[in-house]
């Protein structure tokens, strides 16, 4: 199963460097705790035993942005919280991805007013949006798997474009 089938007698596996790098990135992606509102409860329940996210590599949630790769923005972001969110995003080391969880983070949700950002992509660049109010833990896990697919399909050309531009 898995890698042992391909080892054969010599104990050598050949693959492309891109696949290895992407495999490493997807299988141990640690999210940062950024539960702001009600979606945080669903994120917590997705992490706990019933709908386990550790199966997908998200073994633990790091509270510190310096030690995480993925930021799951769970909940509505008010105009006062916006600069804080941006600062934490800037403190995360490359490579980093963002999931906007729930309706409020994707598009403002039910709160169409002067105090809430209409979609968190006005503050940080988002990779995957998960719809729902709140999205079921299975929906969040589907969002996580979509991010895994996105990362697995990245190429070196895309890396250089993305990281050289900064």
């Amino acid at each position: 199963m898995g890698v042992e089938q391909k080892l054969g007698n010599m104990g050598v596996v050949t693959t492309t460097l891109e696949s290895v790098v992407n495999w490493g990135r997807t299988n141990a992606m640690w999210p940062m705790l950024f539960g702001l509102a009600c979606c945080a409860i669903e994120m917590m329940s997705a992490q706990s035993s019933s709908y386990d996210m550790s199966r997908f590599g998200m073994e633990l949630m790091r509270a510190s942005p310096r030690q995480s790769d993925l930021m799951i923005v769970a909940g509505r972001v008010s105009k006062k919280m916006g600069p804080v969110l941006r600062r934490l995003y800037d403190q995360m080391p490359e490579p980093k991805w963002v999931i906007a969880m729930g309706d409020c983070a994707s598009c403002g949700g039910v709160f169409n007013n002067y105090a809430i950002f209409q979609g968190v992509d006005e503050v940080v660049p988002v990779d995957v949006f998960v719809a729902g109010c709140p999205p079921r833990p299975e929906a969040l896990i589907h969002g996580v798997m979509t991010i895994h697919e996105k990362v697995k399909s990245e190429t070196f050309k895309q890396y250089t474009e993305k990281y050289a531009a900064k």
């Binding site: 105009k79 006062k80 169409n112 002067y114 105090a115 006005e122 940080v124 531009a165 900064k166």
Partner: protein
Amino acid sequence: MHKKLEPIVKAIQDKFSATFEEFRDEVHLFVKPEQIVDALTLLRDEYNFELLSALTATDYWPQETPRFHVIYQLTSLAKNLSVQIRVPVNGSSPNVPTATRVYAVANWRERELLDMFGIEFDGHPDPRRILSPEDMEGHPLRKDFPLGYEEPQFTFNFDEIDLRKPYAKE
């Protein structure tokens, strides 16, 4: 109104020449801004209204002038009574003396009124915004503040809204 409240209302009326209104069982006393601290001190010390349950304001624009009514809801736990004091304030330069020295809870309540209505309190120890960002202009709960909503995106206007939306740079 409650029997026990009648002498209290009469005392306030005599001392501060206040008018009052009744609505069901509530009593609303109208007091001028300069007299409010004395009225609150009197009610707190003599008549045992220890609790300032609520300090809010209402905006009656454009129907009424003066535009704002600052509302102090006082409750007496000892006697199980509550009375409401209203201070009509003008819209052009709303200034009311602060009630922080009388009731300490008025500190944050007055900051909220400053933030949401723009009513300034003289002598307040910490006059800054509490709920909205510090650099925000405007006072959201006034009746002439725009609703501030974003137009709902349908297929026909999606592109134009997309161009205007402030997306984050990387």
